[in-house]
């Protein structure tokens, strides 16, 4: 296996995958073009059945594809001999949604499993297992069996196991969707830390937008087997293009809830005589100014924040506010112009 | 015994195995030639015990598979009330061997297979007694068992086996005793035997091994059954017995 030092972790070109069953064939993936650079944390999202699992399963050769090419670390997965493929798989860790821990083995036994037949002797393996369990903070559970662990603990064992062979790439298929918010948070923190300290490339399938926001730097959106959108997380959240992505992003922000208040004629958004109800959004990465303060002072208006959702993604503020602007009508219009000039997306909802 | 459509009297005869099929064909032919209006229906069993049960239960009219010894033992054990209404033939039970040419060659520890059903076990023991390989407490007693062996001068080991299997297993034993019908079916001859009881038909110890046609005692004088026995005791049937068993089996009746 040749590895060009500067080849991307995963390079997919015109990939097509068809499932052939007795009832007919089903195109699960089509025209997939995707490059995952070393060190990326790449999110993959999409509706159920979009082909997310199929895509990652192609990456480590669990599934064969019909057309196109798929290079991992510069090696074409479909051209490898079985032995080489096994060698490559050792360098790709995979975390399954259902953990797939072996119930007959202890926590330590599960983590040791990928280390058997790698040439390491018993002692070296034990040492590595201990390190890994330390890393996922489960050293005290080494001798427990999987069914004695909580969901989050099982998840950590699965992570430790996936890391056992010091892989270059970690694939995670809906690994946190069934966990409580605390556990999810600590596992994401762990993944982030592994990425930062070991330089891991991570591919994360998830339907939780918060997961993408928290740890990914890039994201691809799958719909019916094709990639409808891909790019940097900030760009996708700030300017989703595909309708599917837009609806996904909409669910992450509470700014759309104002529509419910409008429907209910809530007093919270009463615009009074001159007031205007406004949604303002960050759409470019450069803006970081005290905008509300500026317009309040400069145009002598009151900006009452009804909904706020401003987050820092990839080092830049992202999101927006829903505000009721009150003051002289001319001043308000001037303020809106001012904001538009500062590259803020403005939408007048009611006046 | 039922009336059939053609106003024939149907008589159900219980037999074990299919060796006698041709003999009963001859009996039927004989009856037909006499216009007896009797139809013999054979009911085949794998095992005699059920056959006698079925006779006692009136599921059969006659049986024709057993010899006196087996009948007596069954009557004793089960309290059946049966009567012999005619003898059929005597089928020799001989000692065969693939290993030895004569009885003298048996060595202590040699295994001899004998049939496992009780009456043939007894008969086989008598054959061994007659051959001088063992000594029974009373050679003339009915249906002796292995427990009735008084002495074992030859030192052979006796093993009980399904009669039909013995021929197949002969290479594994020093010797084996089994019924002649199996010998014929296996394409062998009684002359292949290394020991044959001399003049069995008149030997006191072996008289009880003449095969018989049996009815329930209540039906012993049934005219139809009598006709069947008469038809059996005919020259034609005697010939059929000879043909069927290639002359290895002796009809036990005068014709």
């Amino acid at each position: 296996m040749a590895e060009t030092p500067h080849s991307p972790a995963v390079a997919i070109r015109d990939l097509k995958k068809i499932y052939r069953t007795e009832e007919g064939s089903k195109t699960a993936l089509q025209d997939i073009n995707l490059t995952i650079e070393k060190g990326d944390i790449y999110g993959i999202m999409g509706l159920s059945g979009a082909g997310k699992s199929t895509l990652v399963r192609c990456i480590n050769g669990l599934e064969q594809f019909d057309e196109g090419s798929l290079l991992v670390n510069g090696n074409s997965i479909s051209d490898l001999k079985p032995k080489e493929l096994r060698g490559l798989r050792r360098r790709i860790g995979m975390i399954f949604q259902s953990f797939n821990l072996m119930p007959s083995r202890t926590v330590a036994g599960n983590v040791e499993l990928p280390l058997l037949n790698t040439g390491l002797d018993k002692e070296a393996r034990a040492k590595r297992v201990a390190e890994l369990l330390e890393l996922v903070e489960l050293a005290d559970k080494a001798e427990n069996y999987p069914n004695e662990l909580s969901g989050g603990q099982k998840q950590r064992v699965a992570i430790a196991r996936a890391l056992a062979n010091e892989p270059d790439i970690l694939l995670s298929d809906e690994a946190t969707s069934a966990l409580d918010p605390n556990t999810t948070k600590s596992i994401l923190a762990l993944l982030r830390q592994l990425h930062d300290s070991l330089g891991l490339t991570i591919v994360v399938i998830t339907h939780q937008m918060s997961v993408i926001k928290q740890i990914c730097n890039k994201v691809a959106v799958l719909d019916h087997g094709t990639i409808v959108e891909q790019g940097r997380v900030f760009d996708i959240f700030a300017n989703p293009q595909a309708p599917l992505t837009q609806s996904f992003v909409a669910t992450t922000s509470n700014l759309d809830k104002v529509n419910d208040l409008i429907a209910e004629h809530s007093p919270l958004i009463d615009t009074g005589k001159n007031g205007i109800l406004l949604r303002m959004k960050y759409v470019s990465k450069e803006v970081s100014e005290p905008l509300v303060s500026h317009i309040s002072r400069q145009f002598n208006i009151d900006a009452n924040i009804v909904f706020g959702d401003i987050d820092v993604v990839d080092g830049s503020p992202l999101g927006g506010l829903v505000v009721v602007l009150n003051g002289q009508r001319d001043d308000i219009l001037a303020a809106i112009d001012y904001l538009k000039n500062r590259n803020i997306g403005i939408e007048v909802l009611a006046s | 015994q039922k009336a059939s459509a053609k106003n024939e009297t149907v008589v159900t005869v219980g037999v074990v195995g299919n060796s006698d099929d041709l003999i009963w064909d001859a009996v039927q032919k004989k009856l037909d030639s006499e216009n007896a209006n009797i139809k013999i229906s054979l009911k085949t069993f794998q095992d005699g015990i059920y056959t006698n049960q079925a006779l006692a239960n009136k599921e059969l009219d006659l049986t024709a598979f057993q010899h006196y010894a087996f009948l007596e033992q069954e009557e004793k054990e089960k309290g059946y009330d049966f009567t012999v209404i005619g003898d059929s033939y005597i089928s020799p039970l001989n000692l065969y061997s693939k290993k030895y040419k004569s009885v003298d060659e048996f060595k202590p520890g040699d295994k001899i297979a004998i049939p496992s059903n009780a009456s043939n076990t007894g008969r086989a023991l008598k054959v061994l007694d007659s051959a001088g390989l063992i000594k029974l407490k009373d050679p003339n007693a009915a249906s002796p068992t292995v427990d009735d062996i008084a002495e074992n001068p030859s030192g052979v080991q006796i093993e009980l086996n399904d009669a039909a299997a013995i021929i197949n297993l002969l290479p594994d034993y020093a010797g084996g005793i089994t019924n002649t019908n199996f010998i014929i079916d296996a394409g062998m001859k009684t002359s292949d035997a290394i020991y044959q009881v001399p003049d069995a038909l008149n030997n006191k110890a072996f008289k009880e091994y003449i095969n018989v046609i049996v009815a329930r005692t209540a039906d012993k004088d049934n005219a139809t059954y009598k006709k069947i026995v008469d038809a059996y005791h005919s020259k034609e049937v005697a010939k059929a017995i000879n043909d069927n068993y290639k002359g290895e089996v002796e009809p036990a009746f005068k014709y």
Partner: protein
């Protein structure tokens, strides 16, 4: 064709009507025994399933009694069981011989095995379905018929196929009571009279029959499985 047949199966060809009768007897034994023991085994299997620990209506006494009886009957070699059952058979069906007399021992012989198979088929019904049914307010008989038996259908068909194959083995043994059937035919001619072609013909027909049963079973499973 007949030429070839009589070269290869001389003894069968001359006994073709009997061979055919034996085949029909086998079918009758399989059909009647299969049907009755299916009902008995389903009944017992359901009772075992619902009365077991953690079942719908746990009842250790009922469970243990049936469980132990099933084990007891499974422990008795069939040939001995068949002999022991003769008086009962006669009392029940009037005769202990022939195909008619063979059926009762066959039922007694196969039902314990069948019960265990049905039990394992029912244990494959997702407990979640049962919980859903309970939470809908269904009564125990409703749950048995509308959930256990209905959702268990593919598995029940699968184990019934397996059981029918085992039953064919038993019909051969039951030949000793004059039950007839192909197994009996093979034993009487092939085993007792060394006519190998009778054995081969029987085996061929039985293999085809089993193949047919498995094919029908698989077909039914596919039809009933969504």
């Amino acid at each position: 064709m007949t030429g070839l047949l009589s070269t290869w199966f001389p003894n069968v060809v001359t006994r073709l009507p009997e061979f055919f009768d034996s085949f029909v007897q086998t079918l009758i034994m399989l059909g009647v025994t299969g049907f009755i023991s299916f009902i008995a085994a389903t009944f017992l299997g359901v009772i075992l399933t619902i009365t077991q620990k953690g079942g719908l209506t746990p009842n250790p006494v009922v469970f243990n009694v049936i469980d132990k009886i099933v084990n007891l009957f499974r422990s008795i070699p069939f040939i001995i069981l068949a002999a022991a059952l003769v008086p009962v058979t006669r009392a029940l069906v009037g005769t202990a011989i022939g195909t008619k007399g063979a059926i009762f021992p066959l039922i007694v012989g196969i039902t314990p095995f069948f019960t265990r198979q049905i039990q394992s088929a029912l244990s494959g019904v997702d407990p979640g379905f049962i919980e859903a049914a309970v939470s809908m307010g269904m009564s125990t008989p409703e749950i048995i018929f509308r959930v256990y038996l209905r959702e268990g259908i593919p598995a029940i068909i699968r184990v019934t196929t397996i059981t029918m194959v085992s039953l064919i083995g038993l019909t051969a043994i039951v030949g000793i009571v004059g039950g007839g059937g192909l197994g009996d035919f093979a034993i009487r001619y092939g085993y007792q009279r060394y006519m190998l072609d009778a054995t081969y013909a029987t085996i061929i027909v039985l293999v085809l029959l089993i193949g047919l049963i498995e094919f029908v079973g698989r077909l039914l499973v596919e039809i009933t499985e969504h």
